[in-house]
Structures are given as structure tokens and as C-alpha cells.
């Protein structure tokens, strides 16, 4: 219904409406429909669909992780979380240790265009325009990445008022034996700046898992995370399951990702 309204208003001639209230205001229909479109997309964010009520499921300084094997869709999932924040005009710093800036940029364009296709949105160019100023991509080589370096880069940005992130996405950090120290350093940094931080975490097929589904090699650092979400391919679908945090024990049915688009599947009961 909402989308129909958006389409109808977009197609109609652009006119100014003057509301006869005590304080007359002019609304541009095009602007209004655009705002509604953004809100509609925010409502469709994967976490909300998973049953999280709060806007931010992490507390400031909190960590979340998306766990999956290679190629299952971790980056795509995080890009969707990032887009959700961007649509709310929150600044996201996307750090990638795998891909160059252009490729990360392409991820965003790709996910947005898939969303646009799925929800029949025609204003993608404008959407991209509005979210771009809120996004900053930073890429490092895995071997060249260190938390002090990140801190230095971050202060370059914040001190000159170039960009102050509210959310951090760290894609491609290798979760090996030496991860505890950098993670605690990032925790300090996140708490100091009240950042919400999301990581991708690659798992392996024959990896030993703990009782809660979290790989045993990560048990030492598991306490640092408030939310852990797993993407698991089952047959032709990818299940999204909360391993830790709100929703982990609930009976809320797990969400499904469409492997073709990596977007949350529209389910009939939703």
C-alpha cells in the first residue's frame, strides 16, 4: 500500500500542497514520497525483521558479528545493516581488509540496486546520493592493518571534522589465535567513541563448534560480542540465525536469505 502510494505520488504532477492549519506549511510531494521511501526501507531492515525491537541492537561500544563460511553472504548482510544506518543519516565507516575501495563501493551499489529491484523503487540514484555523504570506506591490507593505525586514521577524519562515524563495519579481519589483543583494542576505541561495531567472521566447514554454535576457537573472545548472527546455507536457502543476543533463545522463526540476491526473503506471514 505504502509503495503504491509512493508510486502514485511520484507519477502525479508535482504540486505544492498548502495545509490549512494554524501554521501553514508547504510539503513538496516529491520530498515526502522520498522520505517515505527511506522509512519503508528502514522498516525492512533485516534485524527488525528478525524480531529486534530496538533501533540499535548493540549498545554504544558494543560488538556484533556475522558468522558464515566463505561466499555465503557476510559482506552483503553487513552492507544491508550499514545501509539501514545510512538511511537514518547515521555515519558508517566501512573498513575492508579484503577489497579495494572500488569493490566495496560496488557492493553498496549492487545491494541497493537489488533492493530497488525487489521493492520496485525508481529513485536509486537519489538514494545513493543521499547516503554517500554518510559513508566512508577505508581499506587496508590484512598484513598492514593494526588498531593504532586505524586510530590514527580515525583521528585524521574526526579532528578535521571530515567524518565522524557512529557505526563501524570491519570486514575481513582474520579471527585467528592472535585476535584477542586487537579486539580488545578495538573495544576500547569503540567505547571511547560510542561506536557500534560489526564484524564479519569466517568459519570453516569442519570447524569445532561450542554448544551455542559459536566456533570453539572464538570462545575466548565471545564475551566481547553482544550479538552473533550466523548465516547457514541449507539446501537452496540461507538461514539467518541469532547465536547470541536478543532472539537467540526465542522461538522467532529464523529468517531466510535469497541466495540469488542475498536479501531477506519476503515471507508470507510477515
Amino acid at each position: 500500500m505504502l509503495r503504491k502510494l509512493i508510486r502514485d505520488t511520484k507519477d502525479s504532477t508535482q504540486t505544492n500542497i498548502n495545509f490549512n492549519s494554524t501554521q501553514a506549511k508547504i510539503f513538496h510531494l516529491k520530498e515526502r514520497s522520498f522520505r517515505m521511501l527511506k522509512n519503508d526501507l528502514i522498516l525492512r531492515n533485516p534485524l527488525r525483521l528478525m524480531g529486534y525491537k530496538a533501533e540499535e541492537i548493540l549498545t554504544p561500544g558494543g560488538f556484533g558479528a556475522v558468522l558464515a563460511r566463505a561466499g555465503v553472504g557476510k559482506t552483503s548482510f553487513l552492507v544491508q545493516l550499514s545501509l539501514n544506518s545510512l538511511l537514518k543519516n547515521r555515519n558508517v565507516l566501512h573498513i575492508s581488509l579484503n577489497d579495494p575501495v572500488n569493490k566495496v563501493n560496488l557492493w553498496y551499489k549492487e545491494v541497493l540496486s537489488r533492493i530497488a529491484e525487489q521493492y520496485n523503487i525508481q529513485q536509486t540514484d537519489r538514494l545513493i546520493e543521499t547516503i554517500l555523504p554518510h559513508r566512508f570506506i577505508m581499506t587496508f591490507r590484512v598484513e598492514g592493518f593494526s588498531v593504532p593505525k586505524l586510530e590514527e586514521r580515525l583521528s585524521d577524519l574526526t579532528e578535521q571534522n571530515i567524518f565522524s562515524p557512529q557505526m563501524l563495519i570491519i570486514d575481513g579481519l582474520p579471527f585467528d589465535e592472535s585476535i584477542y589483543e586487537p579486539l580488545t583494542q578495538i573495544k576500547t576505541l569503540a567505547q571511547k567513541n560510542s561506536l557500534y561495531v560489526w564484524f564479519t567472521m569466517r568459519t570453516h566447514r569442519d570447524e569445532a563448534m561450542g554448544p551455542d554454535g559459536i566456533p570453539t576457537r572464538l570462545i575466548k573472545v565471545a564475551d566481547l560480542f553482544e550479538v552473533v548472527i550466523q548465516l547457514q546455507p541449507k539446501g537452496k536457502e540461507i538461514h539467518v540465525k541469532a547465536l547470541k543476543g536478543e532472539g537467540a533463545d526465542s522461538d522467532h522463526p529464523s529468517l531466510l536469505l535469497d541466495p540469488a540476491t542475498m536479501l531477506i526473503k519476503d515471507q508470507p506471514n510477515k
Binding site: 555523504p133 577505508m138 587496508f140 591490507r141 579532528e159 578535521q160
Partner: protein, 694 residues
């Protein structure tokens, strides 16, 4: 002139500015005995490198125009086009690549793959030019050729494979190990002219064996024979080279060579590689369009006996008149023959035919298919095709971007005025991205181009080569106007005061349209406007687009639909409807939310990481939006989108911020709406200028 195209190589040397390609060309010319002494770019002897023929290039240490030259190596004829490295001159690079069969991609062993290398690589991809890579400056501090090979793989997506490894690095660079013959090669003598081949030093044997294995692995993908030989451990030099050649020609393998042109190391093996691995003209398929057969594409035969098809890829004005650099694709271009310029159908007789060596030349009788040469005294524009009489074949036209910046120039005196127009005539013929016109309002001459430096260089050349003293105004950005919403118009043009009357009514609407400059649709039914006047209406609207009513900038992205109107049996005329359309446009445009758009450039700065913060700050100050930063060891690159209007003088700012260690490239990205505050400033400025003119 010999005629064996199997032994001809038309190659270009493409690279990032300052990666040493002019020095490399100089060394190639020296070893092929085309020159007898070496003069360095910015050298102390003040002579400059031979290829930098223009005085200005010598002074700035950069190569602007691509000088074509030829040399001989091991019985092969090599035509070299030294291509410019700055992004502002990419039309030169594009043109060069159009006529080349292969290229050497020069990379700096310290700087590695930089943003300009990416641009050049994209151009090579566009024209499907096979290339080999040469990692230069291995004698410099911080040289790391293996890192550059990885960058070639990661950043440019090349299947790069080392053909050599260095013997020593930085100041200790003494030679190279050839992984095909498995020998160490040293370069003795004052200028490295004596090649000494010896056994591989013990400390490098293991690495050489490992790298050779990698080379064989990569090359065997292109030769079953090599694959079998590798399994039986019987790889021969010929087998390996022929497999690498197949991979290179298919653009699926990039063999990597290394050395230091400045220190005279590794050039002769590179020349061997050019003859062994890069294609000869008959290896490359070239297409032309048949003008007489609906522009159907025709594959050219590359045979000297067929009809002539030749392509003018560069013009230069020399002391003997206009010099036209030409590549013959098919047939033979001989002295005294008559040929036709396919673009305008003009016939002419071929006078002098020459082969160029930087700014010296050698007279020859003919240019055969596959060769590059030069003609004298032929009036043509670059990009023209010459063909035998009766042949309608034309080479495909090249992609020419629209200029984004303009500058007013005023000659100081009468003599300068005459020289300036001569210079402008030549520059516009030589470079399709450089344009000129006279402003209707100010009557000043306006030059347009692809960037500040692009225009600066032409103004300098006017002064030096034509002694045309000109003063320049401030660079102006190519703003555009467009509309944001649909609006209706209904305009009556009526003039009935004395003489023949004029009457026309045009009604319809105007709306924004994406990705099109102008769309006109006629929805008139019932003959409200007689059919013969519809084209006048379109013409009237088109006239209005040239100068937008808001600020006088060209209007783009507009769709006009006319659906009603009226005419008068006597007073309606083409003139009347053109005037009515202009009035209708003005009426509709004012209601359609007109806005100004400005060109936004993609600016990539490459800087040592210690200056990253300062560089980001400088970009941010320029209404820039930083897309991201990429950390690449000691260097990092910052990608941003910045309005062109804010980029004037940025090179000076960047230099002083980074002690001259950073560089940037800039290319047109898109047009975007100008923020309200800036628009107000523009309106104010336009008003003041109008006042001044009045």
C-alpha cells in the same frame, strides 16, 4: 624500407607520469643506434631527452605530444610512440593506442601501480592492446619489483608473471636473471652497451628456479606442447617464449621485465622481448567501416597490395608546414599517388613521405601496410582516414570527451592576434578535446579543454611557438542548466504592427529527462499547428537550449512535448513559430524549477601515508566528498568527488602539503546540482560581469 611486416613492431610506451618512460625511450634509441649520446630528462647538459622535442616539455620534464620514431633491433623494425603520462592529455594516449599493436607498460618499482597506470591500463583494454610490463627504477631506494607484480595482479587484474628477477636491488642493482635462458645478464661499459651473460649467482639460484617454475606454470596454460614438455622436464627456450607470446597476444598473460633505464640496466633484454613477444601488424585484426555499405564493419587485410586505408593519428606544425603522422593499415601509401580524405571527400596528391625520429626526419618513398610514417603539407584533422580513390572505408572514430573547463584569452597586440588564430587553428585540428569559440557577449576568444593544465600548456605553446602574447582570464567551469519538474506552457507570439504580421501559438509541457540532452515530442492532433511548422517549433526550442534563461549556460536533460497550438492562415510563418517556441520555452522553463549543474570530478590522490590526514583535509575543504582511502603499504590513495570549480590551483596546494611527494589524477565523473549558496554567488557574479560588459 623493408617490407616484411612479420618483422615490424608498432609499440607504445605507456605509463604514469615520472615513471621514466622518456628515459627508457632514450635508452632504446641509444642501443638501437638511432642516437649516439644519452641526454637525460631535466639533465644537467641542458639538451633534454631526444623524444621530448618540444621546448616546453624539456622545461617541465614531461612529454606532452607523442613523438613517433622508429628504430631497428635484431633485424626488426620498431616504431615507437612515446605517449604522455598526464591525465589531461589522455586524448594523445588514446590516439596512440589506436594505432599501436602492442605496448610496454612502464611501472615504477617504488611507486608501483598508481592511479594513472590504472587509467592507461583501461585505455589499453579498450583498444585491446597486448602489453608487457617493465618495472623501471629498480635502482631506487625502496625498489620492490615483486610487490609491483602483485599490484599488477591485484589492482589491474593482469595475469602478471616475472620473466626476470633482479641481481641486487636499489644501489646494488647490477643486472638481471633471465628466467628463460636461466643466465644472469650484466650491462657493462659507460652506457651499459656491453651485455655480459654469466651463470646465475649462487644466492639467486633457488629463487630463480622457483620463479621459472611459476613462469612455466603460467605459460603452459597457453601451450599444450609446453605443458607436456614441462611434465617431462624438457622445456626449451623456444617453446617457453612461444607460449608466453600466445598468452600475451591474447591479453591473458602479462610478462614482466625489470631494470633501470637511468642506470642502463635491462633495456636490451626488453628490446628482445618486444621483438619476441609483442605482435606484428598481421597478428592484429583491424576494422574499418564501409561508408558506402551502411557503415558495415570490414576487416582490413594488412596487405600492401590492396586498396589503401590509412589513419592520421597526429598532426604537428613544423617548419615545413603541417606534418601528419600516419598509420597505414592496408595497401601502400606512395609518393606521388592520389588519395582521398574519406571524411570530406577531398582528393590530393601525396608529396613528401617521411619517417620520423623525434624532431628529425628521413625521406622515404612509400609507407607499406603495418608501418607508421609522416606526410607533409596535407590539410586534414587528426582522426581522418585516407583511402584509395573509390574506397569508402573509414577507421572507426575515437571516443572524444566533452571539455569541462574554459578560459578567456586576449591577445596583447595585433601581431599576437594573428599568431594566436594560427595557433588555435592548429591546436584544434591536432587535439579534438581542445576547442575554441568567440563569446557573443564579451567578444573574447574562449578556449575549452579537459583541465587547467591542458589549457595552460596550450597558452604556453602559443607564447613560445607562435610568439602570441596573450593574457588569460580566470578559468571557467562548464556549468549547465536543467529543470527539476514538469511545467506547462501556452504561448502566443503575435506581432501585427506594420508590415507582414506574425502569429503562432505553441502549448504543451516541459519535463526533466535523464541521460538525454534534449527530447522533442510532437503530440499535436488535428493540425492545431500545421505540419510544416513543427520543425520550426523544434528549431525554436533548440535555439533556446544553447543559452539557458537562468544563467546563460547550456540547457540539458529537457524533454519538450507540444500538444496544442494555433496558426493564422496569413500571418503564421516558420519565423513566427520559431519565435513562439522560444517564448514558450521561456515560459515553461521559469516554472519548471531550473537549477544549475556543475561538473564533478573524480579526484584520486596518491600520497605517502604520513600526509594522509593533511590531504584529506585539503580535499574536504574543496566541497569534496571523500569516498574512501586505500592503504597500500608506504603509500595510500584517497578517492574523492570534487566540483571542478574547487580544483583550480590544487596541484600547488598538494605539492606544498606533501613536500611534492603526492600526485593526483582528475577525470570527469558526473554533473551535479550546485548548492544554493554557490548558485547565489554565481548569479551575483554573472550580474556583475553583465554590468561590466555594459
Amino acid at each position: 624500407m623493408e617490407n616484411n611486416t612479420k618483422k615490424v613492431r608498432n609499440i607504445g610506451i605507456s605509463a604514469h607520469i615520472d615513471s621514466g618512460k622518456t628515459t627508457l625511450t632514450e635508452r632504446i634509441l641509444f642501443y638501437t643506434k638511432k642516437i649516439h649520446a644519452i641526454h637525460d630528462v631535466k639533465g644537467k647538459d641542458g639538451i633534454g631527452a631526444t623524444m621530448d622535442s618540444m621546448e616546453l616539455e624539456k622545461e617541465r620534464g614531461i612529454t606532452i605530444a607523442s613523438a613517433a620514431t622508429f628504430c631497428k633491433w635484431q633485424g626488426h623494425e620498431i616504431n615507437i610512440i612515446d605517449t604522455p603520462g598526464h591525465v589531461d592529455f589522455t586524448i594523445e594516449v588514446e590516439r596512440s593506442l589506436r594505432v599501436l599493436d602492442g605496448a610496454i607498460l612502464v611501472l615504477c618499482s617504488v611507486g608501483g601501480v598508481q592511479s594513472q597506470s590504472i587509467t592507461v591500463d583501461q585505455q589499453m583494454k579498450r583498444y585491446k592492446v597486448p602489453c608487457l610490463a617493465f618495472i623501471n627504477k629498480c635502482d631506487r631506494i625502496g625498489a620492490n619489483p615483486l610487490r609491483v607484480i602483485n599490484q599488477l595482479k591485484e589492482k589491474l587484474g593482469h595475469n602478471a608473471v616475472a620473466m626476470q628477477i633482479p641481481v641486487g636491488l636499489e644501489a646494488d642493482l647490477t643486472g638481471i636473471v633471465d628466467l628463460v635462458i636461466m643466465k644472469a645478464i650484466y650491462f657493462d661499459g659507460d652506457n651499459g652497451e656491453n651485455v655480459r651473460i654469466e651463470d646465475i649467482p649462487d644466492n639467486l639460484i633457488n629463487e630463480a628456479l622457483k620463479k621459472r617454475e611459476e613462469l612455466i606454470d603460467a605459460a603452459s596454460m597457453f601451450s599444450d606442447e609446453l605443458m607436456e614438455a614441462a611434465l617431462e622436464d624438457q622445456v626449451t627456450e623456444d617453446l617457453l617464449i612461444s607460449a608466453v607470446r600466445s598468452g600475451t597476444l591474447a591479453r591473458e598473460l602479462t610478462p614482466v621485465f625489470m631494470g633501470s633505464a637511468y642506470k642502463n640496466k635491462g633495456i636490451q633484454p626488453l628490446l628482445d622481448a618486444v621483438t619476441n613477444l609483442l605482435p606484428c601488424p598481421s597478428d592484429v585484426e583491424n576494422e574499418a567501416l564501409d561508408k558506402e555499405d551502411n557503415e558495415k564493419s570490414v576487416i582490413l587485410s594488412n596487405s600492401p597490395d590492396d586498396d589503401l586505408v590509412a589513419f592520421a593519428f597526429k598532426l604537428e606544425d613544423g617548419q615545413y608546414g603541417q606534418l601528419t603522422y600516419i598509420r597505414v593499415y592496408q595497401g601502400t601509401l606512395a609518393k606521388g599517388m592520389t588519395m582521398v580524405n574519406v571524411r570530406n571527400g577531398k582528393k590530393f596528391k601525396v608529396g613528401r613521405v617521411a619517417r620520423m625520429h623525434a624532431d628529425q626526419m628521413e625521406d622515404i618513398d612509400k609507407i607499406d601496410a603495418g608501418y607508421i610514417g609522416a606526410l607533409f603539407g596535407i590539410e586534414c584533422a587528426s582522426g581522418d582516414t585516407f583511402a584509395s580513390l573509390g574506397t569508402g572505408l573509414t577507421m572507426t572514430s575515437m571516443f572524444v570527451p566533452e571539455p569541462v573547463i574554459s578560459l578567456a584569452i586576449v591577445p596583447k597586440d595585433n601581431k599576437s592576434q594573428i599568431n594566436m588564430s594560427k595557433a588555435l587553428g592548429r591546436f584544434t585540428r591536432e587535439d579534438p578535446t581542445f576547442r575554441t569559440h568567440v563569446s557573443d557577449e564579451t567578444k573574447e576568444t574562449i578556449i575549452e579543454g579537459m583541465g587547467e593544465l591542458h589549457l595552460e600548456v596550450y597558452v604556453e605553446r602559443m607564447r613560445r611557438e607562435y610568439t602570441a602574447e596573450v593574457s588569460t582570464g580566470k578559468p571557467r567551469v562548464a556549468y549547465r542548466e536543467t529543470i527539476t519538474r514538469k511545467a506547462e506552457f501556452n504561448y502566443i507570439h503575435k506581432k501585427q504592427t506594420g508590415g507582414a504580421g506574425q502569429f503562432g501559438r505553441v502549448a504543451g509541457y516541459i519535463e526533466p529527462v535523464a541521460e538525454e540532452e534534449f527530447v522533442f515530442e510532437n503530440k499535436i492532433t488535428g493540425g492545431a499547428i500545421p505540419t510544416q511548422f513543427i520543425s520550426s517549433c523544434e528549431k525554436g526550442f533548440k535555439q533556446s537550449l544553447a543559452k539557458g534563461p537562468k544563467m546563460g549556460f547550456p540547457v540539458t536533460g529537457v524533454k519538450i512535448v507540444i500538444d496544442d497550438g494555433a496558426s493564422h492562415a496569413v500571418d503564421s510563418s516558420e519565423m513566427a513559430f520559431q519565435a513562439a517556441a522560444r517564448g514558450a520555452f521561456k515560459e515553461g522553463y521559469a516554472k519548471a524549477g531550473p537549477v544549475i549543474h556543475e561538473p564533478i570530478m573524480k579526484v584520486v590522490v596518491e600520497t605517502p601515508t604520513e600526509f594522509q590526514g593533511a590531504v584529506m583535509g585539503s580535499l574536504n575543504q574543496r566541497r569534496g566528498m571523500i569516498v574512501g582511502s586505500q592503504d597500500e603499504g608506504p603509500m595510500c590513495s584517497i578517492e574523492s568527488r570534487i566540483p571542478l570549480a574547487e580544483m583550480f590551483g590544487y596541484s600547488t596546494v598538494l605539492r606544498s602539503l606533501t613536500q611534492g611527494k603526492a600526485q593526483f589524477t582528475m577525470e570527469f565523473n558526473t554533473y551535479k546540482k550546485v548548492p544554493q549558496q554557490i548558485m547565489e554567488e554565481l548569479v551575483e557574479k554573472a550580474r556583475e560581469e553583465k554590468k561590466n560588459v555594459a
